[in-house]
Symmetry: C2
Subunit: 136 residues, 2 copies
DNA sequence: TCGTTGTTTATAATTATTCTAAAGAAGATT
DNA sequence: AATCTTCTTTAGAATAATTATAAACAACGA
């Protein structure tokens, strides 16, 4: 249970003004036990449901991108018509249930360390992500 | 160097009529030494350039999806506004050069075997893909 | 309180992809 | 070869996710 005050501070520390809309989005995104995987559309609908207040779609996009840029959200590479985001910003891997269109976290020990043996001159590794697709 | 005849046979064997357009697309896609990573738009432009003949964008989409369904192309999960495809349909992993927006194949021995230690009841693993993002 | 700057919003624009339906080409049948 | 059927191509319209615009609004500092 994170308090509204903490969200306000977090926003201030990030040079984002703590508006009503952003605080509501924080409640929906970060006030939970487990990691949360979502699309913009999921989030848009949840805000109305959970807070009772409507936030415009444009603001949801703006805020998600602001949080993404600040490192509070992670973008998950999937081929879907919608982009997926994740509140778990640590390096970790995923199951993707293709039928349910649902992401599930994998612990690093569920996959084991991945050592990339190849390198490209002038480039360095930014991230290593494993995506395990599941079917019935 | 694959001959036109071989493409025609391949198409016939797949219950796809060997039209001028599909043969041209085959030339562009499969008449090469190295694996080829592309977006629909890349391909659309290359067809005109390499064969001198124009194929409608709708046909490029249709054909790529037909080939994908037949297993002649692989879809690569990346967060990009465009979908990436790959002529290398074996199980393999990728570098993605974020700046250049370019995919590079990783050999399986460059990554090593990946053992997934977790399972979801009622689901089985369809694919395991590693995406290594590169930055400067 | 006032002025400045950042934010929200409705709406329009953009863009990748899919749909539609008519014209054309391939393959089979005579 | 002429005809028939089925599949394919195509231009253009439709769809849908995302981004841009610009006016109204809210937060902040003075
Ligand atoms: Mn996750
Ligand atoms: Mn590849
Ligand atoms: Zn983002
Ligand atoms: Zn496809």
């Amino acid at each position: 249970m994170t308090s509204k005050q903490e969200f306000i501070e977090k926003l201030r520390n990030s040079n984002l003004r703590p508006t009503k809309q952003r605080i509501n989005i924080c409640e929906v995104l970060f006030n939970r036990d487990k990691t949360f995987h979502f699309t913009i559309n999921d989030l848009f609908n949840l805000i109305k449901d959970k807070t009772g207040e409507k936030v415009s779609l444009a603001t949801v996009y703006n805020t998600v991108h602001a949080f993404h840029k600040k490192g509070y959200l992670k973008e998950i590479p999937i081929n879907s018509n919608q982009t997926y985001f994740d509140t778990n910003v640590t390096d970790h891997h995923h199951f993707f249930d293709v039928k349910e269109e649902k992401l599930i976290d994998l612990k690093n020990e569920d996959v084991g360390p991945i050592e990339i043996q190849k390198s490209i001159p002038g480039k360095k590794i930014k991230s290593v992500e494993v995506l395990v697709k599941l079917e019935d």
